[in-house]
């Protein structure tokens, strides 16, 4: 009973002509798609597919059946009479008839399996998307790293350049300054009027100030963009060093009254030139911002395990808001004293010098007690 076998087969069967026209279909085919067998015959198989399936049929299936003579396991969506999608697997075979070619088609419902396969596909797509994302992130990271390295190299070159430039300029400025000082010294030895003497004094003080600025710039450059300030520590008589420094500063700042107090006894292990520089910067600072009608007190203190120097002046208190940033470069307490101020590096350099000695600097400032900078050294 081949007819019965054909109709009751557990899959949908059809025979189509070369152009896809259905010549024969079994009951299963008609049942699955909701068309009677009579309605199916004469229709083209491809017209029962969704539009995507029809394009796929034209571009893949039809040429493949013609060329290869068979297709297997092609998944297609067919349309039920009521518009519902029916997912099937198609096997097709070309059969040569006496006068024509026909295609034997077998369809298997695969709706449930399709759901599972779609999940697999989604998972695969997700995995591929994540992989792509990861690769993109890695590439971006590498690029960022390369950019960073390049920026770092550029910054290094700039820092080196700045350091060298400041060093060269400072060095080159020293010679003309020395010439100016020698010339003014020479001039002041002769007979001078009071006015001339005053002008020569200005020249001398200004060139000394310029020299301090140059020294500050050199130190700043070394501390900030170079390899740090270097010191040569050696045992020294702190009180004596400070005493001589104060004597020199009296000449530099004739308008101010400088008093030196020495407290305690013992030796210290410090770089004498740098200690003088610290005192010089702090005194210059006090002269610029303090009350010159009252004395500026310089104290050197030796005690057990530590030594310190401090500079105290009576002046308007430094506003609280400015105290925190006082030791940062290019910072000034107030705008007063603009005719005596430096480039704003003095306190920064004091702190850097204190640090390389293993110490630190502190400031206290109030209206009643005035302002006091204290540098504490650990080096004994």
């Amino acid at each position: 009973m081949p007819a019965e076998l054909f109709d009751n087969a557990a899959c949908a069967l059809a025979v189509a002509s070369e152009d896809g026209t259905i010549l024969q279909a079994n009951a299963r085919f008609s049942e699955w798609l909701g068309f009677s067998v009579a309605e199916l015959c004469g229709r083209r198989f491809q017209d029962l597919l969704t539009i995507g399936g029809r394009i796929f049929h034209q571009t893949h299936l039809a040429p493949m059946l013609r060329m290869h003579g068979s297709v297997t396991e092609v998944k297609l969506d067919m349309l039920h009479r009521d518009g519902q999608k029916l997912t099937v697997l198609l096997n097709g075979n070309k059969r040569e008839h006496a006068d024509a070619v026909v295609y034997d088609l077998a369809l298997f419902g695969t709706t449930d399996r399709d759901k599972y396969e779609r999940e697999l596909l989604n998972a695969r797509n997700l995995a591929e998307a994540l992989l792509q994302e990861k690769t993109a992130t890695e590439v971006a990271l590498q690029q960022a790293q390369a950019d960073l390295n390049e920026a770092y190299a550029i910054a290094q070159r700039r820092a080196l350049f700045a350091e060298q430039m400041v060093a060269i300029v400072s060095h080159d400025l020293k010679n003309p300054l020395t010439a100016i000082r020698m010339a003014s010294d020479f001039l002041s030895r002769g007979e001078r009027t009071a006015k001339e003497r005053q002008l020569l004094g200005h020249i001398g003080q200004s060139s000394e100030r310029a020299q301090r600025m140059i020294a500050d710039l050199l130190d700043f450059t070394q501390a900030r963009v170079g390899h740090g300030i270097t010191i040569k520590a050696a045992p020294l008589d702190l009180h004596g060093v400070i005493h001589r420094a104060v004597d020199e500063l009296r000449v530099a700042f004739p308008a101010a009254t400088l008093e030196h107090h020495a407290e305690g006894h013992g030796d210290a292990n410090l770089d004498a030139d740098r200690v003088q520089q610290i005192i010089g910067n702090l005194v210059a600072n006090s002269v610029a911002y303090g009350d010159l009608q009252r004395p500026i007190t310089i104290t050197s203190r030796l005690g057990d395990g530590a030594c310190a120097v401090s500079v105290h002046n009576h002046g308007t208190a430094i506003p609280e808001a400015l105290l925190d940033g006082l030791f940062e470069p290019m910072t000034r307490g107030t705008d007063q004293g603009s005719d005596v101020r430096s480039v704003g590096l003095g306190l920064y350099i004091v702190r850097e010098l204190a640090k390389v000695h293993g110490g630190d600097v502190a400031v206290s400032s109030c209206a009643t007690n005035g302002t006091c900078f204290t540098v504490t050294f650990q080096g004994r």
């Binding site: 491809q46 539009i51 995507g52 399936g53 034209q58 571009t59 060329m67 998944k75 969506d77 396969e117």
Partner: protein
């Protein structure tokens, strides 16, 4: 760059003019098996696979290069330069008709004539233009391609790609027929069905033979008529055929129309 390997180029026949056959979306050069042999006595015949299809070098598939038909057109011009002799007539099926048009535009004067089989400059309908499809239809096709990914496994690749040092056997070719690496197939589907080449075809003065199937879902008659109206030097030939591949299902009708159209160049050969 070994073009022969990259595009699985095969040169056959004998003549002073060259026919370059370029297959369409979904298949490979084996689709010319019923048509190309009819021209071997009067023409030099060049067959090749688009990169990503058939026995082409899948390693040469550069996503960026082939993200537009231009990439395929540049390949075609390289193949023409390397393998064609004398006047060149491009025989392009479906999307390859547009690849041929772009190749012609890129190197004006190099192509003597086009034979376009089932061509369409744009598949998706636009204002005042009927291409036959909506955007959603193309998404549905991509979905169908996706569904049949499972028919492809990486284990299949070496078999299908074949060993490059071995001559391409027609058997291997038919085995690989219409099987394409899924990612490549999807990208090619997008590039093909979402392209708009109307500005490239309008006013192209190279002689063109349009072979239009009388019943074609992919390139409907109205599209063939549109092309005939915008190609000033075109000959329109309606072939009685169901489906998008008249060169496979009606090769005699196609060959007859082509013999007439190609007569001037075939005579050049005889002379």
């Amino acid at each position: 760059m070994d073009l022969r390997h990259r595009n699985n180029v095969n040169v056959l026949g004998d003549g002073t003019a060259t026919l370059v056959f370029s297959h369409g979306f979904g298949c490979n050069q084996a689709m010319w098996n019923d048509l190309a042999p009819q021209f071997l006595k009067r023409f030099r015949v060049v067959l090749y696979d688009l990169v990503g299809a058939g026995l082409s070098d899948l390693g040469a598939f550069d996503k960026a290069k082939y993200s537009a038909l231009d990439g395929y057109a540049r390949d075609l011009n390289e193949i023409i330069d390397a393998f064609a002799e004398g006047p060149v007539i491009l025989v392009g099926h479906s999307v390859s008709a547009m690849i041929g048009t772009l190749a012609d535009r890129l190197a004006p004067g190099r192509v003597a004539a086009h034979v376009m089989i089932g061509p369409s400059p744009r598949y998706i309908d636009a204002d005042g233009y009927v291409g036959g499809f909506k955007r959603a239809d193309i998404d549905d096709l991509l979905d169908t391609l996706d569904s049949n990914y499972l028919g492809w496994s990486s284990a299949m690749a070496p078999v299908i790609m074949g060993a490059p040092e071995q001559p391409a056997l027609s058997e291997t070719l038919s085995d690989s027929f219409c099987r394409t690496e899924p990612d490549i197939a999807k990208q090619f589907a997008r590039v093909t069905f979402l392209s708009d080449n109307r500005q490239d075809v309008i006013g192209l003065t190279t002689p063109v033979l349009i072979l239009q199937s009388s019943d074609d879902l992919i390139a409907p008659v109205v599209v063939g008529e549109y092309l005939h109206s915008v190609l000033p030097n075109s000959t329109y030939c309606l072939v009685d055929n169901v489906g998008h591949c008249p060169h496979m299902s009606a090769p005699q009708a196609c060959a007859a129309a082509m013999q007439d159209f190609l007569a001037p160049w075939a005579i050049a050969c005889a002379g």
